[in-house]
């Protein structure tokens, strides 16, 4: 992975399709999608439930392999990556934000941030210091030793965002990041995501129904039946 000389294009999909096959039938989740995502842009993926938004996100993250087509991350074809290489890529270069936050309940807020940095090979000391700094920036330092179950929904999502950027990942993938939040908290999260794209040059791809994201998005992609319209 060559991230030393940043290219503006982070993700490139070429004619990507994903078909889920079972014994009796097959489902086309994503069909012939070709597109690029660059640094510094916030792209919104919109579409009804079951339209293929999440499948597209997981294809971009290398969590599943396309049935046809190719996925390039940072200029490299991830289909040629082994599982350990993909795992390293995800730990190092992709930050994830989920609808239900998905913080590890058995770990404290601080440990939730440390663990992703440990996956990326950072030392425990560095990870701890960096996590504390991040928690200060997100005004969560007082919650460092709390377990996620003690946090409000908004606090959980802020921790999840801090976790997503803990490794300074150039690509942030967010799946319905505001869906479980109240209006005000959701708005705050949208602003943070926008700042990540504009001030920190991250490529932020958000799958969402939240229309408030529209005005912050550089591009809005509508997906329906696995096809980008």
């Amino acid at each position: 992975m060559n991230q030393d000389q940043p290219s503006p294009i982070i993700v490139k999909l070429d004619n990507v399709s994903k078909i889920f096959r079972s014994n009796s039938h097959h489902t086309v989740a994503v069909q012939n999608v070709s597109m690029q995502f660059s640094r510094g842009e916030l792209v919104m993926l919109m579409g009804p439930s079951g339209s293929g938004k999440t499948t597209l996100l997981t294809l971009i993250a290398g969590l599943i392999r396309p049935s046809t087509g190719s996925v390039h991350l940072f200029g490299q074809d991830i289909l040629k990556f082994s599982q350990p290489e993909l795992q390293h890529l995800r730990a190092d270069a992709i930050g994830f934000i989920f609808q239900n936050f998905l913080l590890i309940e058995a770990l404290t807020v601080l440990q939730n941030l440390i663990i992703v940095q440990r996956f990326a090979g950072k030392s425990n000391h560095f990870a701890t210091q960096h996590s504390l700094n991040l928690l200060r920036k997100f005004d969560l330092i007082q919650l460092a030793q709390q377990f996620p179950s003690k946090l409000s929904q908004g606090q959980k999502q802020r921790v999840a965002i801090a976790r997503a950027i803990a490794n300074d990942a150039p690509l942030i993938i967010a799946d319905e990041p505001t869906a479980s939040l109240e209006s005000e908290q959701g708005f705050e999260i949208i602003q943070i995501l926008h700042e990540l794209a504009k001030k920190r040059s991250k490529c932020v791809i958000v799958a969402s129904h939240d229309l408030r994201i529209r005005k912050y998005a550089d591009r809005i992609l509508h997906i329906n039946d696995g096809q980008i319209n």
Binding site: T54, L57, T58, A61, L63, I64, P84, Q87, H88, L89, R90, A91, D92, F96, F98, L102, I104, E105, A106, I115, V116, F119, A120, R163, D175
Partner: protein, 222 residues
Amino acid sequence: MIPKKNCVIQIQDDTLTIVGLSDGTNALVIQYAFATLKQVQSLIGFPNIVTCFLIKIKEGFHPDSVTRTIKDELPDLEVYDQKTFLQNNIREMETGFLPFLYTVAIIGMIVLTTILSLLLSINILEQRKDYAVLKILGSSKKLLWRLILDQSMIIIGTSLILAFLLFFPLTLLIEHIYPEISTKTSLIQIIIVTLITGLMGILSAIISIRKIRKIYPMEAFA
């Protein structure tokens, strides 16, 4: 009834007094009790048949010389000193009763390993979303396996500490209630039990780890 020194016991029509408790003569399947020749003959009901005599050597005589003398005088008799007698008992235990206990222990090990692997598997399934998230975030297989192994070792370690904490007071209690039962334990036995239990923990973790392979990162998005 708990046998104690000076206790009076009734066997058939005879009243006997316990004058002492021998150590190492209780082989569970073969238990020895010693009484005077007259009493034994009376109890058995065959006045002319005796299976064994217990001989107490007077001070100043050496057991080896007494053994030799008896063998010379009565060549058809088997004569054992105390040490040989106890060794025979132990051998009898090892070939007769202990294999049965070993079988029970092996069955116990299989059952406990199964229970532990089930506990770990249930725990994995309960937290499958966490494992899916860890996979997405870039956790290595090695780390996930270590998590399971650590959980198994914590259960095994806690169980062993609890077992040892209970074992010694319980053996003292058993010896107090049933003094005829010997509950001797050696350090080697404790080490062997600890090692075998540790192996059970490792085996349970290996069995449960298969569950992690079947957790797909996509599950976190559901």
